[in-house]
Amino acid sequence: MLLVQILIPLLLGGLAFLVRSNLKRPWLLPLGGAGHLIGTCVVLLRNAPVTEGAWLGLDPLNKVVLGFLSLLFFLCSVYARGYLVLRPNQPNRYFTASLLAFLAMLTLAVEAQHLGLMWVAIESCTLSSAPLLYFNQNPRSLEATWKYMLIGSVGIALALLGSYFLAYSALHGGMSTSLFFPDLVREAPHLSHPWLRSAFILLFVGYGTKMGLAPMHSWKPDAYGEAPGLVGALLAGGLTTAAFLAILRFFQICTAAHDVAFARSMMVTLGLFSMAVAAVFMVRQRDYKRMLAYSSVEHMGILVLGIGIGGAGIFGSLLHLINNGLTKGVLFLAAANIHRCYGSKRVEDVSGAIRRLPVTGALFLAGFFAITGSPPFGPFFSEFTILRAAVAGGRFWVAGFFLLMLFVVFVGMSSTVFAVVQGEPSDKAKASDYKDNFFTVAPIIVFLSLVLLLGVYVPPPLSRALHAAAGFIEMNP
């Protein structure tokens, strides 16, 4: 069943090469997304445990991630249909096929229960996302793609080296040399600690590069800035999530090996550092898509910070994973609409979005409030949980710095967002023929409703699943 879920998008991706019409082809995307979502529902409901030696399997952790990713992709795919139709002259064959392949590989990365398989899947995600970034086929997007690929490849190479180290650590421990995660976790107490630590550094830096933690984040503003907004949403919500999942798996192994203090302090440090770097770049940011990229860096920092703090922070971090992904969906897609209408992503050229595009503009503003942690939107609760975990752990400086960074980010981000949203639209924008339509707006509304829902009502099954996942990571079932 899990395999089918991976194969369906792949098949549809192949089909994309056969469909001739540039306008009809995008329908494959919602189709694939819906199929995937249905498949996800089925596998989540079946709730099959991980079988011994299976390459794919669902444990408490990746169940949460899978459900979230499937939903994210479905909504983005609906948007993608609307977006691609707006650009009939841009060939979308490769784009459609790559998007579906990206989904397949992402699913594989999430479901993989084997260290090597997961690595291969994440690598494939990177590769399949290259054509997505290059959709606009101009020098800037080419540069962005090049940087994304090379930096991403170096990261993934480091992750491979880290995987070797981890394998060696098992080898040195004289254990069975299985690289299945359940086996690794079980055998973890016997792993060689020096190798394990080195492995974790390499894996953290490697997958951290994919995640976009500072200072390995440098590809992010370029890639998110130049790619279509929907790709930004998928990368910020999807690929980074897969990379984070990988880090969580190794964190779990460290926990199981009782050698987690170092990993924790590393995560806290890099988490706060990411927030600080993002804050620096968000002050007076004149490009609103790059701003979103830095916001993504910031939130990746919050995610690893939550894990590093531990305790309730892990739960907060997992909740934030979902909150952030969904909110990024709102922001990137709304930014894409604004970009489409104004033809520029510089603040100088864009103003009065809420007058020119009342729905998109309002959604963008709401998304901004959500991502900066305003109650009653979801991200507030996850950030508060992390903060409280820091306070409860007696890490007052961490908590203080965390809040300070949230404030600086807010100050920076709000001036950019307000400049975009408020004021009088330019004449050029008034003349633009872009109008909000169902496909370009409905997914954003759904995203925002979900973010709001997570702020006013975390469904108990989700809450249970998150607690289970947190318990799974912390090794206390």
């Binding site: 690929m149 490849s153 170096v154 190479a157 394998a167 040195h172």
Partner: protein, 213 residues
């Protein structure tokens, strides 16, 4: 066969230094190709006994690392009509020194890690580290996009060497290294490089710095 591992690794390290010290692009690509061939032979040496699977891997490694990718790079060099890395960010001599220093540091670093008994005294781990270091040096100091690709190849050769330590225990890991080469080779080098050349009619990364704050 086992006796050959040490000398072969020394050859790899020498290639590293050569790569750091030379400016001619063709020579750089050739050296990386040669390093790839050496790695192929190394695979065969590390493996005890003889199996078809091993031979296939060896041949695959040699083909990808020694022929396919360098061939593509050479073609790109010819098409773009560039010959030399003119002004690296750090001069060739300091680069060489840094490379040597890094090799030394790798030896020290490898000491801090406990080795499995079959690898005690082997150069595999330090050589891997030193090669990764070299790869990074090339990546961060060279201006030409081709050179960066070569740097990445070297980085990844280092990882391949690390993978050799696991050849017995987990054969699958090594294949993964080859896979990486294949995919990245085809995508990054082939397509993007080609696009870059067409778009900017140059392979100088100076053209690729429009996106910044």
């Amino acid at each position: 066969m086992h006796n050959l591992i040490g000398p072969l690794l020394v050859v790899v390290l020498l290639f590293n230094l050569f790569l750091l010290g030379t400016s001619r692009l063709q020579a750089v690509v050739n050296a990386s190709a040669a390093q790839g061939v050496v790695l192929g032979i190394l695979t065969l040496c590390v493996h005890e006994g003889f199996s078809t699977w091993m031979v296939l891997i060896t041949i695959g490694t040699i083909l990808v690392k020694g022929v396919l990718i360098p061939g593509m790079l050479l073609r790109a060099i010819r098409d773009a009509a560039i010959r030399r890395e003119i002004e690296p960010f750090i001069g060739f001599l300091p680069c060489l020194l840094l490379g040597a220093l890094g090799t030394g540091a790798s030896l020290v670093f490898a000491r801090t890690l406990p080795l499995a008994k079959e690898h005690v005294g082997s150069l595999l781990v330090p050589a891997a580290m030193a090669t990764v270091w070299t790869g990074f040096l090339v990546l961060t100091t060279r201006r030409k996009a081709i050179n960066q690709v070569v740097g990445y190849l070297i980085l990844e050769n280092g990882i391949y060497i690390m993978g050799l330590t696991l050849l017995h225990a987990m054969p699958f890991m090594v294949e993964m290294g080859v896979l990486l080469d294949l995919f990245v080779g085809i995508f990054v080098m082939g397509i993007i490089l080609n696009h870059i050349r067409r778009e900017f009619s140059s392979l100088d990364t100076a053209h690729l710095s429009a996106l910044k704050e």
